[in-house]
């Protein structure tokens, strides 16, 4: 429902009795999504330490509306911070499917992006994009909290490009690799 406009929000001032805000449904829905991305509390290895720092006082991830949730059923974002072992792969897929749509995934660190220092290992999945679709990759070993925040802001940009006419943001799970939330590449 709603009037779909291509323009960004406009405030029409000269209306008797107050101001009127005209906006597009896409814009207002995406705005809400963008500033209330609740991540699942989920750390796998050393990268999780940097993720915790990003939540803590100095960097204060809360400013972005990032409030960690203890349950996947209340979370929008799966922040894979650390090494994904083959033993952990099946639980991660299960957690991913327990999250409500639209759900986003950030692969934090070299390990989650491509296997990192454990590329030759018998026990490590070479990138979490082999099991769940990833929206943003944050390189580094470990990435500094600033890098994670930058990656999160890139995700916010992607969210702003999502359109309701493409199904409310629910995208089919990509077989492998990254996912195009906005459909612009297609």
């Amino acid at each position: 429902m709603g009037i779909v406009l291509d323009k960004f929000p406009v405030v029409a001032k000269a209306v008797p009795g107050g101001q009127v805000l005209l906006t597009s449904t896409d814009y207002i829905v995406d705005l809400g999504r963008k500033y209330s991305v609740w991540p699942l509390t989920f750390g796998l290895a050393c990268c999780a330490i940097e993720m915790m720092v990003a939540y803590a006082g100095r960097f204060d991830f809360d400013r972005f509306g990032v409030i960690p949730r203890p349950s996947p059923r209340q979370a929008d974002l799966l922040l894979i911070a650390g090494t994904v072992t083959k033993k952990m792969a099946a639980p991660i897929v299960e957690i991913y499917h327990q999250m409500p749509e639209p759900r986003f995934v950030i692969a934090m660190g070299s390990c989650a992006s491509c296997g990192g220092p454990y590329y030759d290992s018998y026990s490590v999945v070479k990138g979490v994009d082999r099991i769940v679709p990833v929206d943003v990759y944050v390189p580094g070993c470990p990435p500094r909290p600033e890098a994670l925040i930058y990656g999160f802001m890139e995700l916010q940009k992607k969210i702003m490009g999502m359109k309701l006419e493409r199904g409310g943001g629910a995208t089919a799970q990509a077989e492998k690799g990254s996912r195009d939330l906005t459909g612009e590449a297609a």
Binding site: K86, A89, Y119, D120, Y122, S123, V125, K126
Partner: protein
């Protein structure tokens, strides 16, 4: 007064040697037979106050590492393509005697006196079997499962000797030198 664990253990187990291949400068005792470990652990725990089992592990002394244990090539870096692959293990000689044994290592701590004692025991690689310490130390349970999972040592008398770290589909014991990796669903195509 701190007890002297090595003298007490040597009195009870005359076939053991002390100071053969010590761990750093800690008192280290090399046992002669698998059956001795239970007796030694009982003396350490009940008489000498070494009530803390810190670690159960082993070293595989079979020759250099087999490259079959690596998932991809030995030298995947594009920057060092022309150079020969680095040696994965030093050659035999110069103090390294490769032999088909697993060198078991137990570490006991005494929290009152701050002492540590290490026990070593060589067992043949094939059919490696030692008595379990789970009857004395509850902490031995997971430590022994880990040694079983990664090195294939069987602990007789362990109540639940199953894999603990590696996924169920992984075959073999990855820390053995001749471990060959079988490709699974998560590996490179």
């Amino acid at each position: 007064m701190k007890p002297d664990p090595v003298a007490r253990l040597l009195a009870a187990l005359p076939r053991a040697e002390s100071a053969a291949s010590p761990v750093k400068d800690y008192p280290t005792l090399r046992l002669a037979a698998p059956a001795d470990i239970l007796a030694a652990a009982r003396i350490l725990k009940d008489e000498l106050g070494f009530a803390y089992l810190e670690m159960v592990t082993a070293v595989d002394w079979l020759g250099p590492v087999s490259l079959a244990g690596f998932v991809s090539s030995a030298n995947p870096s594009p920057f060092t393509k022309k150079a020969p692959p680095p040696p994965v293990a030093p050659a035999a000689g110069a103090g390294i005697a490769y032999r088909p044994v697993l060198d078991m290592l137990w570490s006991f701590g005494n929290l009152q006196t701050g002492q540590k004692v290490f026990l070593r025991l060589e067992v043949p690689r094939d059919n490696a079997e030692v008595p379990s310490l789970t009857s004395l130390f509850a902490a031995a349970d997971w430590q022994e499962r880990e040694a079983f999972d990664l090195l294939g040592v069987r602990f007789s008398g362990h109540p639940n000797l199953t894999k603990i770290l590696t996924p169920d589909f992984l075959k073999g014991h990855p820390l053995r030198k001749d471990y060959a990796h079988e490709k699974d669903a998560y590996d490179e195509d």
